[in-house]
């Protein structure tokens, strides 16, 4: 674990998380997240080199089911929630520039 957590760049992390923050939020979170990370540093007290990580408490691998065609949710029910839609499609801002 890094010795110092003062290096957290809230603006960069917020960009990674696709989260727009106001200046006030960025300043507040910066202080609070530093406090939380400082508290989390207590995990450094433990020697864990040879310990297996736990991803799930009830171990399971490769849960499979039969590949059978089943009815799915009606597209009208799904599209009802779309902020913008037309002809059974979601409308989003343009991604690819016109050549």
């Amino acid at each position: 674990m890094p010795e110092k957590t003062s290096g957290i760049d809230i603006g960069y992390v917020a960009y990674l998380a696709r989260l727009q923050l106001t200046e006030a939020e960025a300043a507040q979170f910066s202080t609070q997240v530093k406090d939380i990370l400082k508290y989390i540093e207590k995990l450094n007290e433990l020697y864990v080199i040879n310990v297996e990580p736990t991803a799930h408490a009830v171990p399971m691998t490769n849960v499979l089911r039969k590949d059978e065609v089943q009815p799915s949710i009606e597209s009208a029910d799904v599209l009802r929630n779309a902020p913008q839609q037309a002809r059974s499609l979601f409308i989003v801002p343009k991604i690819v520039e016109q050549g």
Binding site: L19, F29, I36, A57
Partner: protein, 485 residues
């Protein structure tokens, strides 16, 4: 006879004998909601006509007489479990206006059992919080003292049950979100073993920790409702294909000869003395009923909160990536997709959710993954092993559910870390994937607020946990105390 104060098992007997109809029961609960919810504010959404229509259909089909286990019982649903045709907001602005297009597995189970799906209960946004103050709908009040919070994140469900605004409710528990509000509101809250209840249709917070469970007025109802919710579901790959027992079956056996473990790390300075006294008295009661008390140690307890706030936030930062303004919920336009995502999420999420997304994104980001996330997963292993060793020496473990009774609204809102420490006694259970129930075990002396006793069991040990809970409950009369509203 007041119908809204009844339990599932009391109503079930009356409904089967035809003494009351599902419609009468539902109407009684709706009347109660109309009378007290303006004060308690447990519900985010309610459609009385729809609830009555469900009840009438149950009466018409004679489901109670056919022995359906929950026929005609009105049950409230935490606002993050999908019920087809109803809103599901997770108490977030980002999901306002969203109508669920399908039923969660547990809702399918409730419908099959004949329950009336009553309405949506308030919660901390995306289940992130311990007070139900982080809700875009406003703050739910504790029925025992309206100045205080009901706990969280399933605060609306716990308050609804405690105020007799529902016969029972569903909640979800990622780090204590069923048990802590149950303790603070004086009802029974059960967090099942990871995998016991399908998470299909539960809006995901931290997928390796989340479980759905019941909030009820007594232990028998908890057993009945768990029996209805549990079961294997092919739509949740972490759902376990293990037979569902009749959880009430072992009730008659009592606790004679059972070993009850008392971990020293849960009886520490910093806990409200009224809470620790109440829990110690409860342990003495179990001893007097024939249980053997065993001292034990769970040495990695002090690391649980740190582990949790890395693993839960990391998983949340990934799970909440789906709220991007494309397919559902709020959209704030931008010139390109990334700008749209950033604006939508900036406007739609509240401060606690943003804080956790930042923390989780940071813990998973390049250069920090090994130091934070991986290390947390390794310490999670140590916490899990602590419990495995402990359960060699005992059948159940007993602790306080929460270090304090209900606190005042606003008291901890400014300090996130202080709020996180409210979950100190409940978090390890989720990390280890085991089961636990919180039941009422008394009141604080001056303020008369409920205290919760937490009973922990091994994985799939719900029968034993409920058996101990039931023996204690029947030897005391805490369950009969109701708040004055």
């Amino acid at each position: 006879m007041t119908l809204h104060t009844q339990t599932i098992h009391e109503l079930r007997a009356r409904l089967r004998r035809g003494e009351v109809s599902a419609r009468e029961v539902t109407q009684a609960v709706l009347d109660r909601i109309a009378a007290v919810d303006p004060k308690v504010k447990a519900y985010n959404w309610l459609d009385p006509d729809d609830a009555l229509a469900q009840a009438e259909a149950i009466d018409r089909d004679g489901l109670a007489k056919n022995g359906k286990p929950l026929a005609g019982v009105p049950i409230a649903i935490k606002d993050l479990i999908n019920v087809k045709g109803q809103p599901c907001t997770c108490a977030s602005k980002i999901l306002q206006g969203y109508i669920a297009p399908y039923d969660a597995f547990v809702i399918h189970q409730l419908r099959k059992a004949g329950a009336v799906l009553l309405g949506r209960t308030n919660m901390d946004e995306f289940a992130m919080g311990s007070s139900t103050e982080n809700s875009s709908w406003g703050v739910t009040r504790n029925p025992w003292d309206l100045e205080r919070i009901p706990g969280g994140s399933s605060g609306g469900s716990a308050a609804a049950v405690a105020a007799d605004e529902a016969i029972a409710a569903l909640g979800s528990d990622t780090g204590g979100s069923i048990r802590q509000p149950a303790a603070l509101c004086g009802c029974v809250g059960l967090k099942p073993t990871y995998g016991r209840v399908s998470r299909y249709g539960l809006v995901a917070f931290a997928s390796s920790l989340d479980q759905i469970g019941p909030l009820t007025k007594d232990v028998e109802d908890s057993a009945i409702l768990l029996g209805a919710l549990a079961g294997h579901d092919v739509k949740d790959s972490t759902s376990v294909a293990q037979a569902v027992p009749d959880y009430t079956q072992a009730f008659g056996k009592g606790v004679k000869g059972l070993r009850v473990g008392m971990p020293k790390e849960y009886f520490i300075a910093g806990t409200d003395p009224d809470v620790s006294d109440g829990v110690r008295d409860a342990i003495q009661k179990l001893q007097s009923l024939g249980a053997e008390v065993v001292d034990l140690s769970l040495p990695h307890t002090e690391y649980a909160v740190a582990v949790y706030y890395l693993i839960a936030t990391a998983e949340a930062s990934a799970n909440l990536a789906r709220f991007d303004g494309v397919r559902y919920g709020l959209r704030v336009d931008g010139d390109d997709p990334i700008e749209m995502y950033r604006r939508t999420r900036g406007a739609g999420f509240g401060p606690e959710v943003k804080r956790r997304i930042i923390l989780g994104t940071y813990a998973l980001s390049a250069g920090y993954y090994d130091a934070y996330y991986l290390r947390a997963q390794k310490v999670r292993t140590l916490i899990r092993r602590d419990f495995e060793k402990a359960f060699d020496k005992c059948d159940v473990i007993v602790t306080p559910t929460s270090p304090t009774a209900a606190f005042k609204a606003g008291e901890r809102a400014a300090d996130p870390l202080q709020m996180y420490l409210s979950d100190i006694f409940t978090i390890s259970v989720n990390l280890a994937g085991i089961c636990a129930v919180s039941i009422p075990c008394g009141f604080t002396r001056v303020t008369r607020l409920p205290i919760g006793l937490q009973i922990l069991g091994k994985q799939f040990g719900e029968e034993t946990v409920l058996r101990v809970a039931r023996a204690y409950e029947q030897a005391t009369d805490w369950r009969l105390k109701r708040p004055n509203l």
